[in-house]
Amino acid sequence: MAVVAQSPSENAGAKVSLRNSTFLRVSRYVVVRLLTLFATVVVGVYLTIMIANMGGYVDQIMRSQVRDTITQKIALNPAMQKLDPAVRKQLIEETITQEEERLGLNVPLAVRNARYLTNALTLNLGRAINMTSDAGSKQVRLIILERLPATLLLMGSSQLFLFFASIFLALGLSRRYGNFWDKLVVALSPTSAVPAWFYGIFLILIFAAIFQILPFGGMVDSPPPSGTLAYSLNLLKHLILPASSLVISSFFLSIYNYRTFFLIYSSEDYVEMAKAKGLPARDIESRYILRPTLPNIITNFALLIITLWTGATITETVFLWPGLGRTLYRAIGLYDIPIIVGSTIIYAYLLAMTVFLLDFVYALVDPRVKIGEN
């Protein structure tokens, strides 16, 4: 029977099945998406572990390093010099075996990699091999937590300022594009080809070396000033140069990108229509230009929040800023795989979570987007 008049109850049933299908579609999407993202994280972290010990090559370096330091230590120890050479040799061998056991070098590489991977995925960051935190702990978690505030302060202040300032200024420029300031920003946008640390060197040269009004680097004076206010002011003084170099290096390109983006949206027909209707400029901006660009702006903001975590290795190095980027760099120099893996896994999880959540945010801000539909 093909054609039957629909009764009200049937109509309700159709609604329920529609709701069910939405639920099914979304949950299927969530499951598939979470699984693929998890697989991505696993593969990414495993690759990082493999690279961090160069497929076993780093083991050789560490083995010879252990042998070297222990042989030296025992040979130079006056208390051991009177020992019989054979006994001393045995002592050296025993100590080396102990140290290799501590470093996990006696376990086959594949097993060790698998262990690193499962520990990382369960966020069991474990203990560092060579590094210690300033407080003296070998816990990777504590080493990272100790450096996190410094990085968050530097990256947070500079990136948030950059984000809001460039959107605000870009809106202003897109309102009257072609004027002097607009042309200036367009002309200056190639300056963002130069990385932040590079501007940092120039800023140090000008403000620290020549005018001597701001410090060369570091986070506080040594000894640090007492009192919260004095301490904060001192911190602020040290923050100015690294934060400004981070801002300067992306400032003009960021404004230019947002401005071009807004301009493309302001030439849409519905914006012309709104203008023709005589809507006030502020309403056009907030309802007709900012609204459709919202998904992009949110994506940028989310990615910005993630980059706070990675820190700015080279800028931190140039300014001797005790942040995460520098710690990671030192960890690599000391073959400290747990710290490298710990930093990577946290970044990977943050990224995966953000990518996952963004899909839902898109659906929330843009009614045309339906989750799980192509």
């Binding site: 991505t40 972290v45 080809a193 130069v194 590079f198 620290a208 070396a209 140039v318 990977a348 990224l351």
Partner: protein, 445 residues
Amino acid sequence: MNAMKSSLQNLLKYPSAVMGTLVVLLLVFTAVFAMIKIPYSEAIRLWRGGEDVWYQNPKFAPPAWINHFSSKKYAESFSARTTDGSMEKTVTPGNEGTVSFAISYPLDFTYDYYPQEMILYVTSKYETKQPFVSVELLTPDGRKIRITNASIGEKMTYRFSQDQKLMTRLRTEDVFPALFSDPETGELLKGQYQLQISGTTFEPGSDIDVEFVFHGQVYGLAGTDQSRRDLVVPLLWGAPVALAFGLIASLGTLVLTMVIAAIGTWYGGWLDELIQRITEVNLVLPFLSILIMIGTFYSRSIWVILGATILLSIFTGAIKGYRSIFMQVKESMYIEAAQAYGASSPRIIFFYLIPRMIPLLIPGLVSSVPSFVFLEASLAVLGLGDPILPTWGKIIQDAQANGALYRGYYYWILEPAALLMVTGLGFAMLGFALDRVFNPRLRDV
């Protein structure tokens, strides 16, 4: 062809494009000049050379042209030797096989600072009887100061500042103010000095040669670093290295990205899926950390780093952008026509799909050069620069390691920094203009 021509004409309307092109051409010219003037092996020998190659230069000397910006003139460093005729040597045979040598050097001293050091390297040939030299300095006011007398072996190095006897004779710890001052006023005396070395050999066939090295405060066109190296060598050679690294990395990345995106889009299915998954995995990998790890554990060679950079830069967001454009192109009529007359898949990919993207490739190619040039410099600043090649980043790293900013050796950082900056900005400006010409969406805004 016509489209190309009009694009070029459009390009000339942008002043930034013209400036950028000039900078790039100048860089290419510098790179070629550097490679012809200082061949590769010679550049490596000079850059890796120690005291034996660079003993003639002072350490940490700013370039000589800073004298133009200062009312007080710094002494310029130089060296002269008898072997190439820059120092005059007259030979007079005496009796019983002795030979007298008179070697003189006119020292035009018109600076406002005393020299840092003066050194004589005397070499001689003899069988059994050692030759003998005496050194004197004639001052502009006609005094004659005896510096030293010595019989010399095969090699003798005489440092003016280290000679205890000379210090006692001049009644001072500091030799140069005593040598280059008016004895009555105690002030620095400018004018024509004359270094006179007279020597005697006592055997037939015996010979003396002298090299005079004068260390002032400034040196040459670019100054020197902590190992006395002339910075002209790494500054010149930095250009070909930076260009090669930037261009190869940028070209390699873009072309590979495009080919992979085209293949993935054309064949679709699991291949396309695989490429997308790899891109997502690559997003998780810490790019800079991996490069640092490769540099620390494996090899700091610029070519290894270059390969790793290209590999890690292929599967990025760009591949998704190309993919979406290829998706549109794939549906075009001319592709359908090509399929209809039986073109093979590789033919379609390489002769129909990819050529359509070349206008998009050019701006991307030019504007991604600076990021790679600066990547090399960044790694060098972290101490992971190529161990053999001289690069701009390595100069900055040497300068940072020696506290150049703190100790006031600004030239040492500013010279490579200026070159990096000019290179980066030149490519960025050109790329920017190209983007506006080739990307019609941006043309009006």
